[in-house]
């Protein structure tokens, strides 16, 4: 059997540097090794530093998901210092976290993924595009190109919500251990509501139909390169006065977790009725986040900061 090595490098449109080393046997990919090719050594950088510096330092791990790293640091410090978080504080943290998620999802889908499926305009930025498997008709193609440029504003508005409460984005400042440093005053809630309305319209009228369209036209892609379902989740948003640790020794791998994990795995392996591609794509998650933000923002109205 003839073996062939293919170096796919650089993999573009992502945060960071990536290459894939592929081994082919005949026409089949026998092995694919992914390399992240930048190294800074954050594990070493964090050592010996003041523990509260982690809130801001760890955000510097990644630009597109900075909030997630900062949130983890704050949650762990909450646990360490046994902080009591006010209800408003916890809700506001969730809003900030969710805004960064919205930004991330929109940018990932449009700016990072779409040029794999859509013929982009003939500009330097898009030259050298792989045109070998473009399937959209010209009209749909044109529509999606238009949405690529609209997504720029929707993602910016998502970060504007984070900035309203967090001071800046990426690498926000006010989501810290113990709560949030900014009060959710009426003006900020109102501005965030206006922004979220714009984003909701974009997701409803653009992103969801676009995802459906691509998922339909490229349906066969769902079965290419399926990997074992080695995914694990310990939840995302936090509620209540105590921030529970996500992977502390008393939480990790209890019997209940294992049971849940087994069930989750079995669901992923044999999708039951109604568990089609829609559930597996990112728009489901974005809807959940949108609904969550709106639900959380609404009761905040009228509460004193």
């Amino acid at each position: 059997m003839s073996r062939k090595f293919v170096m796919f490098s650089p993999v573009t449109r992502l945060s960071g540097l990536l290459s894939v080393e592929v081994t082919m046997e005949e026409d089949v990919v026998a092995e694919a090794n992914v390399k992240g090719t930048l190294f800074r050594g954050f594990e070493w950088i964090m050592q010996g530093r003041h523990i509260r510096d982690a809130i801001y330092m760890t955000q510097r791990v990644c630009g597109i998901c900075s909030m997630a790293h900062g949130a983890c640091a704050s949650y762990l410090l909450d646990d360490l210092y046994d902080n009591e978080i006010s209800e408003n504080g916890q809700l506001l943290r969730n809003i900030m976290y969710a805004s960064d998620f919205l930004q991330n999802h929109i940018r990932h889908f449009y700016l990072f993924s779409m040029p794999d499926f859509v013929r982009m305009p003939d500009r330097p930025l898009f030259q050298g595009q792989d045109l070998s498997d473009l399937r959209l008709n010209p009209r749909d193609n044109e529509t999606l190109v238009g949405h690529y440029f609209e997504a720029i504003k929707a993602a910016q508005e998502s970060h504007q919500i984070l900035t309203l409460f967090g001071g800046k984005a990426p690498h926000q400042h006010s989501f810290v251990e113990g709560g949030v440093a900014v009060a959710p005053t009426a003006d900020k809630i109102n501005q965030a509501m206006a922004l979220i309305d714009n984003i909701r319209c974009f997701v409803r009228d653009r992103m969801v139909p676009d995802t459906d369209l691509l998922a339909r036209v490229y349906r066969d892609y769902f079965s290419i390169g399926v990997t074992p379902a080695r995914l694990i989740s310990f939840g995302l948003f936090r509620f209540g006065p105590k921030t529970k640790p996500f992977c502390g020794k008393e939480v990790c791998w209890t019997k209940a977790d294992l049971a849940w994990w087994t069930q989750a795995r079995s669901m992923r392996r044999s999708p039951g009725p109604g568990f089609g591609y829609r559930e597996s794509n990112s728009t489901t998650r974005i809807w959940v986040i949108l609904i969550a933000i709106t639900r959380v923002l609404k009761p905040l109205v009228g509460r004193p900061g």
Binding site: G63, I64, G167, K168, P170
Partner: protein, 316 residues
Amino acid sequence: MLQGDFERLCTELKHSPGNQLSRAIFDVLELKRAENSQGLGAHKEKLPVIWIETNDSGDNNISFMNTTYPYLDGVFQDMIDLLYSNTFMAAQGLDALEALQNAAKGYAGEFVLVVEGAIPVRDNGLYSIIAYAGHEPLTALKVVSLLGALAKYVVAVGTCASFGGPSAAKPNVASNVPVSDIVRRDVIKVSGCPVNPDWFVGTLAHLQLFGVPRLDEVGRPAMFYEFTVHRHCQRRSYFDRNEFAEKLGDIECMFSQGCVGPKTGSDCPYRLWVNHVSWPVKANTPCIGCTNPDFPDGSSPFFVPMPQKSQRRTNL
């Protein structure tokens, strides 16, 4: 058109039916605009840009995407031709490498080299590989020194590229150094962690309209970094009256909470972030000096007041 002609036009057409007056004025304006297209600003050539990402978190390109007026699509349409960018370009793999090669050859001496991130020099730069040509690693060290010699301007975007930043924070195991240590020529340092989109897009605008902006003593465009945060801070009156915050979230001066505004050159207090809505001190937290050459080690521990920082840092 002279003032007299304009007045006559208005008088003649003031009672005319339809929108003749508006239309006539609009035509004149269009004519005027065409005449001015030779003048400054109206006739700008787009800057060819090669953007190389090295050791940073990719936060600077995310922040760049947050630009408003112009929005990102406006920047791509009117200001720059992005010839290579790991984040934005459509091409992948060999096509991307070819684009880089073509850009470097085709625009030698004309392109703006934007470097985002620090350059690790340990082990011949193996800790940051832009891409592989076959099995041959194209290290950031090699690529940036090569392109640095061919570029018209070199712009370091973000604090990692400008001064080493978080990538070069102690103990700096991969020996990350700023771009200016590699290219041995003048580098326009647009620092910040991340860079404020206004600082970066504003620098591009200056290059496009007037060439290299006036730089401060550490190589940053003076128009953004010349004055300290402290000088323009909205909470300066609290500092002057010795009214200091007791905790994050308070309305008083954040000096007590570790603010390094007094030694940080940046226009954050009036520039603000992400469509100009807020900045760290407005969010009742300290400035951590992310534009500084000594960031982050010179600012840490972040929440300890400046006079005590250096003492605490010796334990690092």
